[in-house]
Structure formats: structure tokens, C-alpha cells
């Protein structure tokens, strides 16, 4: 099932991810029916054909909204891993390797 309510709570929450706030602001504008202010590279609507040519703007809004919902989830999926704690292994390997190359170099 699509947890619609939660997706929209995320869309509305400006502090969901500070790094993403410009994109989220655009998302908010679109939800409230305002035109997007600036085309961001993240804009999920780009090159989307309007599925209904009789009502181009409504169809475009629909398409934009759907793509935004997908876009939010895509970023969330990625950020879920980014926000995981980095296993100690990583820093250990780097430290071990570092001291090894320091010996070779010095």
C-alpha cells in the first residue's frame, strides 16, 4: 500500500531534510497550486508528456505531483542509508592503510 498521508507529511515538512529544503519548497508550491519558482535538477516533472491534452495544466499538475511523490521517496531511500551509522570497519581500514603508506613514504 501507498502510505499517502505520510508521503504528504514529508512533502509539507520543510525541515524534513535541511539539505533538500529548496527542492521541498518547490514541492510545496506545486501542491498548493502555485507555479514552480525555479527548475531544479531534481524537478521530477521534466520531459513528462501531459497525459490529457484537453486539460493541459491540470494534467501537468497531476504528473508533477506523482513524480514529486516518487522523488521524495527516492531521496528518502538514499538518505536512509546516508543517515545510518558508519561501521567502525571503515575508519579502521583507512587508519591501517594510512599507517602502512606512511611507512612506505617515510
Amino acid at each position: 500500500m501507498f502510505p499517502i498521508g505520510r508521503v504528504f507529511r514529508i512533502l509539507r515538512s520543510a525541515n524534513w531534510n535541511l539539505q533538500r529544503s529548496p527542492a521541498l519548497n518547490n514541492d510545496e508550491d506545486a501542491i498548493r497550486g502555485r507555479p514552480p519558482r525555479k527548475r531544479h535538477a531534481d524537478s521530477m516533472i521534466e520531459n513528462m508528456p501531459a497525459p490529457d491534452s484537453r486539460k493541459p495544466s491540470a494534467a501537468l499538475d497531476e504528473a508533477r505531483l506523482r513524480q514529486q511523490a516518487i522523488g521524495v521517496r527516492l531521496r528518502q531511500m538514499f538518505d536512509e542509508v546516508v543517515n545510518e551509522e558508519v561501521p567502525d570497519e571503515f575508519l579502521e581500514i583507512l587508519r591501517r592503510h594510512d599507517s602502512k603508506t606512511a611507512e612506505n613514504g617515510g
Binding site: 500500500m1 527516492l74 528518502q76
Partner: protein, 201 residues
């Protein structure tokens, strides 16, 4: 100033320290990108560690001040595809592991269930998936994504665009769905929500 033989005269210890600090900060992002390529978390961490070490070894060739995130992502991606080339069988096993992972991540406590998106992504061609992830989730500009994937900017744009359309079609079609509910209904519900939001203001 330094009695040790200078193999890299243009680099100093403080350059290395700065490089290392930046590299350590990128580890979470490398892990996330590796996870989207490998699927299996353990294999993904191995890949991210290999990429981290390769980046460290190649630090002399990195120009400080340029985009280190894009540079390390490029290293990670090259590493992934060179490993795949070495062993086709291994990549098939990776695919099986990825499919198991898709089932394993079905966590009802997750803030938002992402299973259908993961499954939808898994159905995309690899080059479309990576382009969409770099631009749509990794925060890269098309130009940076093109550099990472070693292709033209226009190619990245068309891959991202095709990936978005395909993913949307997959999700709307509901071919990922397992609980009997229609994803088309879910999309209609999204639109109903949007209408309500626009009138509330």
C-alpha cells in the same frame, strides 16, 4: 622543510589531512550509492570500502577544491563495473542477493514503506537506475552525473527522463504490489490529497 624524499612535492601532510577529513565525511554517501548498485548491504559495504581505499591511494591525482563527492562516486562506480566484468557469475549472485534484500527490507516500522520503490528501481535498466539515483537522490547536477557515468550530459538527461517515466508507469501499474491493493488507486488517492491540500491553504 622536510628531510624525507619528496615523491609528491606538490602535496603536504596538511593536504592529506584535509583530504582524509573530506573523504571520511563522504563515507555515508559512498555507502548509500554502493547500496543502490549492489542491493546486498554486505557486498555494498565491501564496494564502498574498496572505493574509499582507491580514492585515498589516488589522492595525489585529486585537485583540492573540485567536487570530491563526484570524484569518489566515479571511483566507486568504476570499481563496481570492473568487478562485474571480472565475474559475470558473481553479478548474477548479486542480483539474487538484491532480490532477497528487497524482501528483507519489508519493515512495517520503517517511517515510510519503500519496498515498492525499491522493486520498481530493480526493474529499470542499470544505466537508467544509476542516472536517476545520482540526479534524483544523490543531489548531483546532470553535468556531474555525466562525469561520474562517463557519458554525455544529454545521455544522462534522457536516461533520467526515461527512468522517471518508466518508474512512474511501474508504480502506477502496480506490478510491484503484493497486498492486493491497486497502486492506481494509490495514485488517485495522492491526487485527492493534493486537491484537498490546495483548497485548505
Amino acid at each position: 622543510m622536510n628531510s624525507a624524499p619528496e615523491t609528491r612535492p606538490s602535496r603536504s601532510g596538511s593536504d592529506d589531512e584535509g583530504f582524509k577529513r573530506e573523504l571520511v565525511q563522504l563515507i555515508p554517501h559512498l555507502r548509500a550509492f554502493a547500496r543502490t548498485l549492489c542491493g546486498d548491504p554486505a557486498a555494498a559495504d565491501d564496494l564502498a570500502q574498496d572505493a574509499m581505499m582507491k580514492a585515498w591511494d589516488a589522492r595525489a591525482s585529486f585537485q583540492m577544491g573540485t567536487n570530491m563527492k563526484a570524484w569518489t562516486f566515479m571511483i566507486l562506480r568504476n570499481q563496481f563495473y570492473s568487478e562485474k566484468r571480472r565475474s559475470w557469475r558473481q553479478s548474477q549472485l548479486d542480483q539474487e542477493a538484491a532480490e532477497r534484500t528487497l524482501v528483507a527490507v519489508d519493515d512495517p516500522e520503517a517511517p515510510v514503506a519503500l519496498d515498492e520503490l525499491r522493486q520498481g528501481l530493480a526493474m529499470l535498466p542499470a544505466e537508467q537506475r544509476e542516472a536517476l539515483i545520482l540526479v534524483g537522490a544523490g543531489g548531483f547536477a546532470y553535468e556531474e552525473a555525466a562525469e561520474i557515468c562517463n557519458c554525455a550530459v544529454g545521455t544522462v538527461k534522457s536516461r533520467v527522463s526515461r527512468a522517471r517515466r518508466a518508474l512512474h508507469a511501474i508504480l502506477e501499474d502496480g506490478s510491484y504490489d503484493r497486498d492486493g491493493a491497486s497502486a492506481g488507486d494509490a495514485m488517485r488517492a495522492i491526487l485527492a490529497d493534493a486537491e484537498r491540500l490546495s483548497t485548505v491553504r
